[in-house]
């Protein structure tokens, strides 16, 4: 059939009725209302399976002059979606579990999620990939994550197809499909799909959000970000840390919602009919758990019972709500997580506070989604919008270690801290009252995450178990849902979302995009389940794999193959068990579950069903071959000495003021001797301010002038601060200053000696007993000429960003090569590992 809109006339690809017009039958035109010129368009212009849709041939008349000429107004039209095609809103919450939101029995008040669940459907057997970027890739492409190069994370791009982080041209994301079919598309919020080395003005930009099919983007590209000084990118440019509105401090959840609403208003103001697709992806509930007391205080005392009891309470509510069957069993606590009763009073209280903040942070995210929904409702478009809201791109994160941490960066840098040290450092940065503020980069205890994944075992990273892979999904689509508030139990997967949306809006999956034949989407539409609780399952088989943890699902059977590694352990003693030639994956312990009878994976049937175990093991390898899952642990290749080529460039030069250099693009000074040399002009009367600074007081460095003196501060992850300064004030005029770090040895976290020089003469220095081995910050950028966002040295916080009042002409980083190739290789290996460590938290 053929549908017409204001722009190009385009046919649907098959005989099925597009589902979208049911949303607004009144606006649909009869198919025979086509013009003569419309009937003459070529196949190329009427086929939505080949994108982009071609502009129709000119059907007017062009004489030598306008005399006798007739325009063809289709020439200035644009592709329009099927008439009546609805808007699409996809909301993705970060790092949260099945047992977190109230709508699924969790302890966190989520009135807006409850509302959408009440007006829509809750899917209780919806699955993700157990990791951030892989889930996002599967969500947006409708395909398996390895099949689109995202078996790992973009920070650890590897030389294997399944782990390259390079979106292949034969896997167009569904937002791009919508855009090419005439939708306005935008992504707002967290991204985490762009290879780190591509995050800069030099690009390339194919893997930025615009390249994935979003006409507009505003948010952060990193795996995580402070919510108070988020380094923002807009479209293809970093625009840095933004100011709050009305004199209030900046807060990312609020700002991203404002941006989303502004975008919607702009689209509708510009075009009264064009449908939109918005991907709204929160930084919450990922670490750092940042929220004002207004939100966390509400939960005061609500977690004093501890995680063991909380799981029981949540489980009881889940069964009352029906999101967990009455015959389900609550899985036990793994011994890697402490019993609540084993904690001393300080730890109990601090841990309770950790969860209060997490809950407030999560409810705040729900609140802002609610603002967005109110805005859509005020525009009169809520009932013409398909809402897909996924609570968690993976299970809740276990990466906070059992004690929780004041600074997640300590875990990412492999810095072992005892429970007592964590308490001391919590005290150092303001105590429990500061948990949730910008003074910390907090992550709660892994045991809270486990409780957030009730009733399942494990959590994020652990693809072998439902704690990492089963998350809440609600869908609202009034025109299709006949049982608002209902439950759905079909096995569904994040890769089903794209195909389902295309199915609902009546746009076919393209066979060709930009001339490239497309991989079929492996996800399956579950659109029929919207109207029918008993609709058949379409997703009968699915593999799971993240960082070596694996599962194979088929027809209700689930084989768990958990790599025996605790998610927060990346130390050599653990990893050596998985080295090439050592690890034999099929010798990992296996667990077998039959999910239709065992919702929570509580009864291991592996011993009694050895043939099923064998069958699913074999099937996993078949799938692994098909979708580029092999080689396992390719995302960890750097840990085993399999490294990308070493770059030959050891100097980086910044002319003038340069801001917002992405963390992955900061000169590789870790574990190296290096110099920072700056050419300055100091006016008569002196100058002050930052010459160059990276990150914050929780990890970073700053070379600055204060009280006339050259100063250098090195923040070792909030644990230690090292400060050096010149003995005398800087002279005026043209001045060269240098900071020379002489590493004791080419080894991770090497100590070393700092020397400050002015015009080549030593003027001060000091020793640093520890240096950061992996990365200062997961999100904060480097700035030349000022210190954007949270500052490195709190002594100038009241003057932030403490812009240099003289002139910074040039700053040169020289990462001195090591003495021999072996040292250089060792440091290169370490740098690669740091990328993995940073990204793994995403």
């Amino acid at each position: 059939m053929t549908l017409r809109a204001r722009g190009y006339t385009v046919a649907t690809s098959d005989s099925r009725e597009p589902l979208a017009p049911r949303l607004d039958e009144g606006t649909r035109r009869e198919p025979n209302h086509t013009t003569e010129s419309e009937r003459q368009v070529s196949d190329e212009t009427s086929d939505r399976t080949k994108l982009p849709i071609r502009r129709p041939p000119f059907s007017g008349v062009a004489e030598q002059t306008l005399g006798g000429s007739q325009p063809d107004w289709e020439q200035i039209g644009h592709v329009r979606p099927p008439e009546g095609a609805p808007n699409v809103l996809v909301v993705l919450i970060d790092d949260a579990g099945f047992g977190n939101p109230g709508a699924f029995g969790g302890p966190i008040d989520t009135p807006n999620y409850d509302r959408i669940a009440g007006e829509g459907l809750r899917y209780t057997r919806f699955h993700v990939t157990a990791m951030c970027s892989p889930t996002r890739a599967a969500l947006l492409t409708g395909r398996n994550h390895h099949a689109v190069g995202m078996g790992g994370i973009p920070e650890a791009s590897s030389g294997f197809p399944g782990y390259s982080a390079q979106l292949p041209k034969d896997a167009a994301p569904f937002p791009k499909v919508l855009k090419e079919n005439g939708y306005a598309t935008a992504a707002i919020g967290k991204w985490h799909l762009t290879p780190e080395k591509e995050q800069g003005p030099a690009g390339p930009f194919d893997h930025w959000p615009n390249g994935w099919g979003f006409g507009y983007y505003w948010g952060f590209l990193a795996p995580e970000a402070s919510q108070f000084d988020t380094m923002i990118a807009e479209n293809q440019k970093f625009i840095g840390v933004q100011k709050g509105k009305d004199g209030e401090p900046f807060y990312f959840p609020e700002a991203m919602t404002d941006q989303a609403i502004d975008w919607l208003h702009g689209v509708r103001g510009h075009d009264s009919e064009k449908p939109w697709m918005l991907y709204y992806s929160t930084g919450c509930s990922h670490s750092p758990h940042h929220v004002s007391k207004q939100w966390s205080e509400k939960y005061k005392g609500r977690f004093d019972q501890g995680w063991d009891k909380l799981r029981e309470e949540t489980f009881e509510r889940q069964q009352q709500l029906g999101v967990v069957p009455a015959d389900a069993v609550l899985t036990p606590r793994d011994e890697s997580m402490p019993a609540w009763d084993s904690l001393d009073e300080n730890n109990r209280r601090v841990c309770a506070r950790q969860m209060e903040v997490y809950a407030g942070y999560s409810e705040n995210a729900d609140h802002h989604v609610g603002r967005l929904l109110e805005s859509i409702e005020a525009m009169g478009e809520l009932d013409n919008t398909i809402i897909v809201w996924i609570w968690g791109d993976n299970g809740a994160s276990l990466e906070g270690t059992p004690s929780g941490t004041f600074n997640e960066g300590t875990m990412l840098n492999g810095l072992p801290l005892t429970d007592q040290e964590q308490l001391q450092l919590t005290l150092k940065w303001g105590g429990v009252e500061a948990w949730g503020t910008e003074m910390m980069y907090p992550h709660y205890s892994s045991a809270w995450a486990w409780a957030g994944n009730t009733p399942f075992a494990w959590g994020k990273q652990v693809a072998s178990h439902l704690g990492g892979t089963r998350n809440p999904l609600v869908v609202r689509c009034p025109s299709r849902i006949t049982e608002p508030g209902g439950l759905r139990s079909q096995f569904t997967h994040v890769s089903d979302v794209g195909p389902t949306i295309l199915d609902l809006v009546g746009i076919p999956q393209p066979t060709h995009v930009d001339g490239v034949g497309q991989q079929p989407m492996t996800g399956a539409s579950f659109a029929d389940s919207l109207a029918d609780a008993n609709a058949p399952e379409h997703h009968m088989q699915q593999y799971f794999e993240n960082f070596g943890n694996r599962a194979m699902y088929k027809d209700g059977w689930w084989l768990s193959m958990r790599m025996p590694r605790i998610p927060w352990r990346l130390d050599p003693d653990v990893l050596k068990r998985f080295a090439p030639g050592v690890w034999k994956p099929d010798e990992d312990p296996v667990e077998l579950y039959y999910l239709p009878d065992d919702f929570s994976q509580a009864t291991n049937l592996a011993v009694s069903h050895p043939e099923k175990v064998k069958e699913l093991q074999s099937l996993f390898w078949e799938e692994a071959e098909k979708y580029h899952v092999k080689p396992l642990l390719a995302g960890f290749a750097g840990f085993f000495g399999i490294l990308p080529p070493i770059g030959a460039i050891s100097t980086s030069t910044y002319h003038g003021v340069v801001q917002n250099i992405a963390p992955g693009a900061v000169p590789r000074i870790y574990n190296h001797s290096y110099t920072i040399s700056a050419d300055l002009h100091i006016p008569d009367g002196g100058a002050e301010g930052v010459i160059v600074a990276e990150a914050s007081h929780l990890g970073g460095f700053s070379l600055f002038v204060q009280d006339g003196k050259l100063k250098h501060t090195y923040a070792f992850l909030g644990v230690f601060e090292y400060r050096q300064e010149s003995k005398h004030e800087l002279p005026s005029g043209d001045v060269n200053v240098q900071m020379l770090f002489k590493a004791d040895a080419a080894k991770p976290a090497t100590p070393g000696l700092v020397t400050l020089l002015v015009n080549g003469e030593p003027v001060g220095g000091g020793r640093m007993d520890h240096t950061v081995p992996f990365i200062f910050s997961g999100y904060a950028g480097m700035d030349v000429g000022l210190d954007n966002g949270l500052v490195v040295d709190r002594s100038y916080a009241d003057k932030a960003p403490f812009a240099f009042t003289g002139t910074v002409k040039k700053v040169v980083f020289d990462v001195a090569p090591h003495l021999d190739d072996q040292d250089e290789h060792a440091m290169h290996e370490h740098a690669s590992q740091s990328d993995i460590a940073r990204g793994i938290s995403g």
Binding site: E345, N346, R349, V350, Q420, L423, Q424, T426, L427, K428, W429, G430, G431, V432, E433, A434
Partner: protein
């Protein structure tokens, strides 16, 4: 008071009530004469770094808000300006200067400042070193404990200066 060195213990807390518990426990030791205490002080340092004395205790385990004697010695070492309220007129400046000089010259001031970050509660006790183990065991809720020392003669002089000032005799 002997001329031997005395321990100046600074215990830092995340929670004010837990600091109070430990404060009471140390005073109980003093009351039981299990240790010889110069003074014990319960303080709260606010987020701006200002120290607030919540309670003091003396060598007999008596409590109150009085900043004199051994408790005055503790407070003076921690935050000399707090003595101003207890000394009269020109005497206040003099005694604060003495405490300030001692803090600077011995480094004990910096150590005490570092031991109590803004936002923390604290129990500070000065006692004969022989009681160290008993005190340590009593401070079960402390997140961090630091120990400095002060020689007996200095403590004696500082206490005497404070007493004179409080009596309005010094200058």
């Amino acid at each position: 008071m002997s001329d031997d060195k005395k321990d100046v213990l600074i215990a830092a807390y995340l929670f004010e009530d837990l600091a109070q518990r430990d404060f009471d426990a140390v005073l109980q030791l003093a009351e039981d004469k299990a240790i010889t205490v110069e003074g014990v002080v319960l303080v709260q340092k606010d987020v701006d770094g200002e120290v607030h004395v919540k309670e003091t205790g003396d060598h007999l385990g008596r409590t109150g808000l009085k900043i004199g004697g051994g408790a005055g010695l503790v407070v003076g070492l921690l935050a000399p300006p707090l003595l101003a309220a207890t000394a009269v007129g020109a005497a206040a400046g003099g005694v604060m200067a003495k405490f300030g000089k001692h803090r600077l010259e011995t480094g004990i001031g910096e150590k005490m400042d570092d031991a109590l970050p803004p936002g923390s509660g604290g129990v500070i006790a000065i006692y004969d070193s022989g009681g160290a183990d008993a005190v340590d065991q009593a401070l079960v809720n402390a997140v961090k404990k630091s120990v400095a020392q002060i020689d007996g003669m200095s403590a004696k002089e500082l206490k005497a200066g404070l007493a004179e000032a409080q009596a309005g005799m010094g200058g």
